[in-house]
């Protein structure tokens, strides 16, 4: 180290005199390159503008964020004012994440320049390159590999970072691939696959949800594994709060005493994960025992509840009632039977069942957490079963259960040209398609072809931390990606270096929602959309994927079909115009820029299937039979014990009855989505890391057994991997269950143990039996003090 400043003061005289005698006048050392500073051309205006905009994250809410902009810089973010609430279409005020958007926008960790991989894949060594070089490389390598393996070798890792906008980066990627010959598309996602498939089986559609204002007419609300306080499902909280104020009783069923339980619950019933089905069966049994089931509804609208109303071709003894009474297996599904499995006291089950069946109408909202497990489809079907038995389907204040999609007006989406290849896989098959494409079969979800002709060789990962983040069993994914002979070319476009970007060959800096245009929507219960305005220029050399893909498309000779002559802003203007053709009340561009939100109010609450109840002659359920299929002939024909014809409890793999695995790994590990991030987006945000710490919840009984105290570092492990995390010993979680917040970015130590508490080193990528979906929350592990 050189001089301290004090010493500097002492010696400056000597040095100074020495320098001054140097006679240097002729020596010169210039600035290299162009000067960074130029003569002042314009004086700053100093006028603040307030621009309404919104994020496009995969967040259930969708709030108006107001960017205060001074001289091209966002100086502050504010939320919708109280007076601006439109009670007909309530748009929520920004949550804690929204209040932190400025720090997210201006984080010093933003990716700033295009880069190329220098070391081994996954090693993290990159070098800065020009956009020109990046584009040439992307075009060249994509072309070469497409020529060698066909367009089916190209795959897209979707973008939960931008998924709630019409200009979602994945949609742009789809457009690009489809105009350049097609690609191996994917469907499902790890949020809701099981719920959607199971609900569609029962009702013929996933749109089984009412608009949220319906909740104000409920006499009882049950949140079953639903945690909207942290996940912000549209404006669910707005109505739950009012229901609560009105005195509507709210019961929360969850292995955790969640924030939603804290906020709303009159009663919390902890249930062991993966066993919800047993509890549902016992509730059904109790309802029938008390003769509280809605026979008229079941007889009129459903197939499969009792032997008298069975789908054609299914033999006797297969109805749900027969199952409840143990006609085949000799086991009567009493609350006492269920208690042994799900750990909910029989009395509590019975009381809950009677209460639910007696409160009319009542809404049983099943969240998406309990369906993200190996018994997920059966749980969803079970919830729909209970809704039918209690006659709450198609009723104001009731709820049909299941996936609960709501068909609402919204903005016109980005047109995606048809995939010329016509092939797609279920997202859970992507590692198979990399490792051994011949193992990818229609039985597991391959669509559009019997077999794949090529492995995945090219991946574009766009605003997505899926590959080595949200994907289950990321240690397996890492092994596959590290081997450069598998996937030969990976492009990642993102904001920050996340754990998936590490595997990129070309790494591109992307734009935030403040830096581009979009139309954004909430999860399905909000009847509005927002013009997400470009507020500032993209930072450093960041570019929207649309911009660089247009360049790549040019090198493929299809720029015109990719852009149709429109800029990014041009597309949003166009889509707004198209939306106005459908909904003329939607404001035009200039007005949207002022007000931000387009309200699409509806006159009465939207109630799923009400039209069918009102006029059953004319309207039918969109199933093959026209009825609600509580028993399914198609499923019966599978003769798969894991996919029973009726929604009965079957012990789940990686669940509490999965012997002998559970003897080795006695704890069930579940994840939950926290208030401080959206999936893994915002994970590194320092403020948000303080909002909720990355700790593992552990019941005091288990903690005592293992000698663990709050604050201890704990190693959680199974055959797939291990992680380190701080323990929080709390009765807010039931015994036998560990809960770890999802979305932590993977950060392995030397021995491969994750140090951030990234749950997906433990989870399995085994596919669920019916939907072939994900089972993140069916995960057995053991723990030890680290």
């Amino acid at each position: 180290m050189d001089l301290t400043s004090k010493k500097a003061a002492q010696i400056s005289r000597r040095a100074f005199l020495q320098w001054s005698a140097a006679g240097l006048a002729s020596s010169h050392f210039f600035l290299s390159g162009n000067g960074l500073l130029t003569p002042l051309s314009v004086q700053a205006q100093g006028l603040e503008r307030i621009i309404p905009t919104s994020s496009n994250f995969d967040c259930g809410g969708r709030c108006l964020s107001k960017a205060h902009v001074l001289d091209g810089v966002i100086t502050r973010i504010s939320a919708r004012a109280n007076e601006e609430l439109n009670p007909a279409v309530p748009v929520m005020k920004s949550c804690v994440r929204g209040r932190s958007y400025r720090k997210y926008q201006y984080q010093p960790d933003r990716l700033k320049y295009p880069m190329k991989r220098m070391g081994k894949r996954g090693e993290g060594k990159f070098g800065k390159i020009s956009w020109e070089e990046a584009i040439e490389t992307i075009a060249g390598r994509t072309k070469r590999l497409t020529d060698a393996y066909g367009p089916g070798c190209r795959f897209l890792a979707g973008s939960s970072g931008t998924s709630m906008g019409v200009f979602d980066h994945a949609k742009i990627g789809r457009r690009f691939f489809n105009v350049t010959g097609g690609f191996l598309d994917n469907y499902h996602n790890v949020s809701l696959a099981n719920a959607l498939v199971a609900t569609t089986g029962v009702y013929g559609t996933g749109n089984s949800g009412n608009s949220m204002d319906s909740l104000l007419e409920s006499k009882l609300i049950i949140l079953w594994g639903h945690n909207p306080v942290e996940t912000h499902f549209g404006h669910t909280n707005y109505y739950l709060k009012q229901a609560r104020e009105k005195g509507v009783r709210i019961i929360v069923i969850d292995p955790r005493y969640s924030d939603s339980a804290v906020t709303y619950a009159d009663l919390w019933i902890p249930v062991l994960p993966n066993t919800d089905g047993a509890m549902m069966d016992a509730m059904a049994y109790a309802i029938v025992s008390e003769n509280l089931h809605d026979k008229h509804f079941l007889d009129t609208f459903c197939l499969g509840f009792d032997e008298e109303h069975m789908p054609e071709g299914v033999p006797a003894g297969e109805s749900y009632l027969a199952y409840l009474m143990g006609k085949k297996d000799g086991v009567v599904k009493t609350p006492a039977w269920a208690e042994r499995i799900c750990k909910v006291p029989a009395n509590a089950i019975r009381k809950l069942a009677i209460e639910y069946a007696s409160a009319k109408p009542a809404a049983l909202l099943s969240g998406w957490g309990p369906q993200r497990n190996s018994a997920g489809e059966r749980t969803v079907r079970g919830s729909a079963m209970l809704c039918c038995m209690t006659g709450n389907v198609g009723k104001l204040g009731g709820w049909a259960g299941g996936y609960a999609g709501i068909s609402r007006p919204g903005p016109v989406g980005m047109p995606i040209p048809k995939n010329p290849l016509g092939q797609s896989i279920n997202i859970m098959q992507w590692t198979d398609a990399v490792e051994d494409h011949t193992s990818v079969t229609p039985a597991d979800g391959l669509r559009g072809t019997d077999k794949l002709t090529a492995p995945v060789k090219v991946i574009y990962s766009l605003s997505s931390n899926y590959l080595v983040g949200m994907n289950p069993d990321i240690n397996k994914a890492k092994r596959l990606l590290e081997d450069e002979t598998n996937v030969e070319f990976i492009v990642a476009s993102d904001l920050v270096m996340n754990s998936s970007c590490l595997y990129a060959d070309i790494l591109l800096p992307s734009v935030t929602f403040f830096e581009c245009w979009d139309l954004t929507v909430s999860f399905n219960c909000g009847a509005y959309f927002i013009l997400s305005q470009k507020v500032v220029e993209p930072m450093f050399e960041a570019r929207h994927p649309y911009e660089w893909m247009a360049e790549v498309a040019k090198r493929f000779g299809v720029e015109e079909s990719f852009t149709e002559g429109r800029t990014q802003e041009g597309w949003i203007r166009f889509l707004l115009k198209e939306t106005r053709k459908k909904y003329p009340d939607v404001p035009e561009w200039e007005q949207m820029k002022q007000q931000g939100i387009a309200y699409l109010p509806y006159e009465t609450p939207a109630i799923a299937f009400k039209n069918i109840l009102d006029d059953p002659e004319k309207n039918k359920f969109p199933t093959a039979s026209g009825k609600i299929e509580l028993c399914s002939k198609a499923l019966y024909d599978l003769h798969d014990p894991e996919v029973p014809a009726v929604a009965q409890y079957v012990p789940a793999w990686e669940g509490p009855e999965d012997r002998p695995r559970v003897d080795k790994y006695p704890f069930q590990v579940i994840g939950w989505k926290t208030k401080n991030r959206d999936n893994s987006t915002l994970y590194t945000h320092p403020w948000l890391q303080q909002v909720a710490s990355q700790v593992m919840w552990l019941n005091p009984l288990d903690a005592r057994k293992k000698g663990i105290r709050s604050g201890d570092k704990v190693r959680v492990f199974n055959d797939r991997g291990a992680l380190l995390i701080e323990a929080m010993v709390t009765p807010r979680i039931m015994p036998g269950v560990l809960a770890i917040p999802t979305g932590a970015w993977h950060s392995p130590g030397k021995d491969g143990t994750d140090r951030n508490g990234c749950l997906n080193v433990l989870t399995t990528d085994r596919k669920t039996p019916q939907a072939r979906g994900n089972a993140h929350h069916s995960c057995l592990a053991d723990i030890a003090r680290a």
Binding site: A8, S12, F16, L31, T38, D71, M115, P538, E541
Partner: protein, 245 residues
């Protein structure tokens, strides 16, 4: 002239130096110019062969700064890079790690990251720096996409101000305008005290343990020590010039 910058008054110091004449003044300024352009160039972009060659050429000049081991380290590093490809590649990689990314930088070299209450890019301090540039009749032309307060730009401002003073000194036409020199020194001192000194030495102290090449170790050490030192130089210059007036 400086009223817009609150809380940054420069305390007068009694250091008086015995500069003999204006030529001595030019020498001091020239040396400062060397140091500021060196630091600015090394922080601004990848060290090119041209830059490294320039550093090597300037070695005799830098050798005058015998109290600054760090600058000799930089020169030695430059010489090594020019003769050895491996060292050259290493110094390039190091620039990537320390100044580019993609992983978190050990010390993100923007003033507002250190001083803004939110520790962000484009914070309040960035706008204050932008104002200061405007006060000196400059602007950073890429400010729409890059923050104005990156270390390289702040160093360039000092280089530029020093240059303009040097020009006055070396304009041998008639009387040297000492008052102007005085106010340009004052401006530099203000910028050091209100901006650079408040964050840059700390930032480079943070960066130093992450630097492994001679060039960037030297640079970090140089900036930790030279910037506070330079404030004294400026005060000394002011003292002498004021005496001449």
């Amino acid at each position: 002239m400086f009223e817009g910058v609150s809380g940054c008054r420069v305390a007068p110091q009694a250091d008086v130096f015995a500069l003999k004449d204006v030529n001595g003044l030019a020498d001091v300024m020239n040396l400062r110019g060397h140091v500021y352009s060196l630091a600015r160039n090394l922080t601004c972009s990848y060290p090119s062969v041209e830059l490294l060659t320039n550093i090597r050429k300037s070695q005799p000049v830098f050798s005058l700064m015998e109290d600054f081991e760090s600058i000799h380290k930089i020169c030695a590093g430059a010489v090594q890079c020019l003769s050895d490809e491996h060292s050259y590649a290493e110094v390039q990689n190091e620039y990537t790690r320390l100044f580019v990314g993609p992983a978190s930088l050990p010390a993100p070299l923007w003033e507002s990251v250190f001083l803004d209450k939110e520790h962000i890019l484009f914070g309040e301090d960035t706008l204050a720096v932008r104002k200061f540039y405007a006060m000196c009749n400059f602007e950073f032309h890429e400010r729409a996409t890059r923050p104005d307060d990156h270390i390289s730009i702040e160093l360039e401002l000092l280089y530029r101000l020093n240059e303009s003073a040097l020009q006055i000194v070396t304009a041998r036409d008639n009387q040297v305008n000492l008052k102007n020199i005085l106010s340009i020194c004052e401006l530099q001192l203000q910028f050091l005290r209100c901006h650079l000194l408040r964050w840059a030495p700390e930032a480079f102290a943070l960066q130093l343990p992450h630097a492994s090449t001679l060039v960037y170790q030297g640079l970090a050490e140089l900036l930790v020590s030279f910037l506070p030192y330079d404030a004294h130089i400026l005060i000394a210059l002011q003292g002498d010039v004021a005496r001449w007036i």
